[in-house]
């Protein structure tokens, strides 16, 4: 008998099958992920977890009998029945097979637990930053190794076996190293040989051959070759995303929730998809401040509204830290659309100044729960609409319900051709 301990075998043997399953169900999984997002707390929006998939599309059909027809059942535990009794059918059933209790699993839907990684992969599939054009080498260069021929030194893990044996063989052939079969044949000859004289000659020959084969090793350190790698610096695009959020008193809790959800998606998308994206968080009331992400998402603040303060802060930061010649600059602004009347002109000027520096600028207007997300008459919307032209990379959307966040986000950042822009 053998006892084998399999516990330390590599895990995830079924991972491949799982991935195939997910790929097959891609559409349904995406739908389910979107649906599950709507009802989650903002802190665990993207924590993975259970989703429910519809079962069509992953049926494994077989030829089997359906309901109906004459049925016989043998059952245990008879108490009071005698032969010939007629038992009324339970209401609602028309005879036929009783539904087995064990078979009901997953009939209505298939519940499925996604890991956080899988969840995010599904979720961020086919999104990208538009127009990531300015490719410059970043200061900290990213390097990828690539194959560059062979070398005579290297680490044992990189031994090029094929090349090494080839060289060894060339050397053996060139130096006439006796082959093993040759020596064996000679040994056999000696064993069979009966004549003393010729035996001596043969033994001498064998001796010289074995010595020669010792002198010329099968594989010599000279033969060993290693795969050589060289590091190639990889151009990395530098990008910065400005998140401008209005936290003034006019924003209701619902609106803040929508805005934060939007930025959370944006933050996750950027931090997972792009290694080299800087994110600048700016929140503003009647004055703007740059904050860290913790404060941005969870810190309370309130006050009046001056949108120009945020734009001014953004302009100042660009001038101080992000040279537009090197950086791809993106902006995302969320607001309820209210702005002080006197601030309109200044905001317009600032935006017109900033937009040409940007690759893309998205404006999200959040509304009340019951609002209409197709039209907006807010001062900011009207102002931005006046500025928007085909030449400026400005996109605008209005969102009123949680369920609309993901579609709008997806719409703003989905992969598209270099030419086409998002239009409102």
């Amino acid at each position: 008998m053998h006892i084998v301990d399999r516990r330390l075998n590599p895990r995830g043997k079924s991972l491949e099958n799982r991935q195939r399953f997910l790929r097959r169900m891609k559409g349904a999984v995406q739908q389910a992920v979107k649906r599950s997002l709507q009802n989650r707390n903002i802190r665990d929006v993207l924590d993975g977890g259970e989703i429910s998939l519809p079962i069509d599309g992953m049926a494994e059909p077989s030829l089997r009998r359906g309901d109906g027809g004459i049925r016989d059942h043998i059952l245990p535990g008879n108490r009071a029945f005698v032969e010939g009794d007629i038992l009324p059918r339970p209401p609602g059933s028309r005879g036929g097979k009783p539904k087995d209790a064990g078979e009901g699993d997953g009939e209505d839907g298939f519940r499925f637990v996604l890991t956080r990684e899988e969840f995010l992969d599904v979720f961020l599939d086919d999104l990208e930053l538009p127009d990531l054009a300015k490719r410059r080498l970043a200061e900290t260069e990213e390097e990828t190794p690539f194959r560059a021929g062979y070398s005579v030194s290297g680490s044992p893990a990189n031994i090029a076996v094929g090349r090494t044996t080839r060289l060894a063989m060339m050397r053996r052939v060139a130096l006439h190293r006796p082959r093993r079969e040759e020596i064996e044949a000679l040994q056999r000859q000696i064993e069979e040989c009966e004549d003393d004289e010729s035996r001596l000659a043969l033994e001498a020959k064998l001796k010289s051959l074995t010595e020669k084969s010792r002198r010329i090793p099968y594989i010599d350190p000279l033969d060993v070759r290693y795969r050589r790698f060289e590091n190639e610096p990889k151009p990395v695009a530098k990008a910065v995303m400005f998140c401008l959020m209005d936290v003034s008193g006019s924003m209701s809790e619902h609106m803040k929730d929508l805005a934060k959800r939007f930025y959370l998606l944006l933050y996750l998308f950027l931090s997972r998809r792009y290694k080299k994206v800087e994110i600048v968080f700016i929140r503003h009331t009647d004055r703007a401040e740059e904050v860290d992400e913790e404060t941005f998402f969870y810190g309370p603040a309130t006050g009046g509204t001056l949108v120009s303060s945020a734009l001014a802060a953004m302009r100042a930061i660009i001038a101080a830290r992000f040279d537009p010649a090197e950086w791809n600059i993106y902006g995302a602004q969320a607001s309820d659309g209210d702005n002080a009347h006197s601030d309109g002109n200044l905001t317009g000027h600032l935006l017109q100044e900033i937009l040409p520096l940007c690759q893309y600028f998205a404006y999200i207007e959040v509304g009340e729960e019951g609002g209409d997300s197709s039209i907006s008459r807010s001062p900011l919307w009207l102002l931005y609409e006046g500025i928007r032209s085909d030449l400026l990379p400005l996109s605008m959307r209005k969102v009123c319900r949680r369920g609309e966040i993901f579609p709008v986000f997806h719409d703003l950042f989905q992969k598209r051709d270099a030419q086409s822009r998002v239009t409102p």
Partner: protein
């Protein structure tokens, strides 16, 4: 001075903890009883300790340690995992594989008592059954199966590289849908030798390479002979019709399949055939294993190798395993094969050792023979569920389980008829009916390929002989028929023929255009 062993030194283990030397001791003690006292004959054992995740892995790929890749196994894994994580379902204590050496998986969480139970149950009970039952001997090749699955896995992944995952997946989906109708029900001349399979394929490829001559392409082709004149009978004989093994027919005769697709059908067919005996011997297989573990555990306890406390732990899980809820119980979901099988084995033991007058009348052959293990070993070797129940379900057990027979005719509007209960008039009818429920020739719909219109549009004609007005489940059948048409490459017609030999329903499917 004489030394006597104190009970403590006799014990195989104390408490719940175990290590590998404990397992070895347990196995050796079980082996001594199984081979010596019970006279079992087993394949060499291989015991593998696994984690719960690995158990879930094994669950999802039909219990086999290696299997080709397919999305449906991922689905099953996810399904089991969800239930397991929520605590809605426990995992099995063990899985045992019909191979030589016989591999039993033990979960690491099991206590020492449970490991003893599992080793007795799987490594000796199931193992003996696999090695000796005629169905397994006839249809499975325990020595070859693991190598064959390795070959199948490699072959399918090579196909995926060469022809694309999508194409392979499509073929596998279709083959899986027809899997239930991909087995030979009757033995032919050639016995299965899975080890030859890989060699066969290599030889065929070598032959093709050897015979390849590009010149043949340029040879002008004359008019082909017309086959249309063949009579129906001749045509059917030439194609081996009627044929109930649909996968076999497609593998041999489908005109538009690539050679690799045929090989995939063959692999799926072999796998289906391998599991075919297990479907027919659920009650017997589990009954045997449960009976064996019960015997071994009792003897271990009697000789003091298991403490009273551990034996009580065993009795508790044993009682869970053989629990049979009544029909009106919320937990009822059909017969528990462990319960029914174990009860029948114990009943047979009683008939052989302490028969009543009734038993002598019903079972003259075995009643009072005295050698219970001899009789049981003979039964384990030569019966399957259907024949086992129809011959050995005793009136005593029918009374004990209080079985009754319901006859449910939808035309009877008043309700369901109780047509037999546990009395003189009912025993035979109940026994016949119960054995029929375990006859897969009766429970699976009987579908045959009956004709191919070779000269015309090559339409494949199948017939389902409808019994008791039970037609095929429509939604599933449509999907399967679609898969069948895709494999066949031309139209497919399925006729359902009712009791009066009239075509009651007809279904057709046409092959889908493949968009690459």
């Amino acid at each position: 001075m004489t030394t006597t062993l104190r009970p403590k030194e006799l014990r195989l283990f104390e408490g719940a903890d175990w290590d590998f030397s404990t397992l070895q001791r347990i196995h050796d003690a079980c082996e001594e009883i199984a081979l010596g006292e019970l006279g079992l004959d087993v394949y060499p054992n291989q015991i593998e300790v696994i984690t719960s995740e690995q158990m879930l892995d094994a669950y999802s790929s039909t219990g086999m340690p290696l299997f080709y890749r397919h999305w449906s196994f991922g689905k099953h894994f996810a399904h089991h995992e969800t239930f397991y994580r929520r605590g809605m379902r426990d995992l099995a204590y063990e899985i045992v594989i019909n191979s030589s050496p016989c591999i039993s998986y033990l979960m690491e969480e099991n206590t020492a008592t449970m490991q003893t139970l599992v080793i007795a149950h799987a490594a000796f009970g199931h193992n003996h059954f696999f090695k000796n039952n005629y169905l397994f001997k006839l249809w499975t090749d325990a020595e070859g199966i693991l190598d064959y699955l390795d070959f199948a896995k490699g072959y399918i992944s090579r196909c995926e590289e060469r022809y694309g995952e999508v194409a392979v997946e499509r073929t596998l989906d279709a083959a899986h849908a027809l899997m239930s109708h991909g087995v030979h029900r009757y033995a032919g001349k050639n016995t299965l030798d899975l080890r030859q399979e890989e060699k066969r394929l290599q030889e065929r490829r070598a032959h093709e390479e050897q015979m390849f001559n590009d010149l043949w392409r340029t040879v002008p082709v004359g008019k082909t002979k017309k086959a249309g004149d063949l009579g129906l009978e001749k045509r059917r004989a030439a194609l081996g019709l009627p044929q109930d093994n649909i996968l076999y027919f497609l593998e041999k005769s489908a005109p538009r399949l690539q050679p690799w697709q045929r090989e995939i059908l063959r692999i799926v067919r072999h796998v289906a055939q391998y599991f075919h005996p297990q479907r027919q011997t659920k009650v017997m297989n589990e009954g045997t294993a449960t009976y064996v573990h019960y015997q071994i555990m009792n003897r271990l306890h009697a000789s003091g190798q298991i403490s009273d406390g551990n034996f009580l732990e065993f009795l508790k899980s044993h009682a869970n395993v053989v629990f049979q809820p009544n029909y009106d119980d919320r937990r009822f979901s059909g017969f528990n094969p462990y319960a029914l099988g174990f009860a029948m084995m114990q009943d047979i033991e009683r008939i052989v050792t302490k028969p009543t007058e009734e038993d002598r009348a019903w079972f003259p052959d075995i009643a009072g023979r005295g050698d219970a293990m001899g009789v049981l070993r003979d039964i384990w070797a030569n019966y399957r569920d259907e024949s086992f129940i129809s011959q050995f379900l005793s009136p005593n057990l029918i009374r004990q389980l209080r079985l009754f027979h319901l006859y449910d005719d939808p035309d009877q509007t008043e309700g369901v008829l109780v047509s037999a209960i546990h009395n003189e008039r009912g025993y035979l009818r109940i026994r016949r009916q119960l054995s029929r429920e375990y006859d897969i020739g009766w429970t699976d719909p009987a579908i045959d390929i009956v004709d191919v219109d070779l000269a015309g549009d090559r339409r494949l004609l199948l017939q389902h002989i409808v019994v008791n007005d039970c037609y095929l489940q429509e939604a599933d059948m449509k999907l399967v028929l679609q898969h069948l048409a895709d494999l066949w490459g031309y139209d497919v017609l399925l006729q359902e023929i009712d009791g009066s030999n009239v075509v009651a329903r007809e279904h057709t499917a046409s092959p889908r255009k493949i968009v690459q």
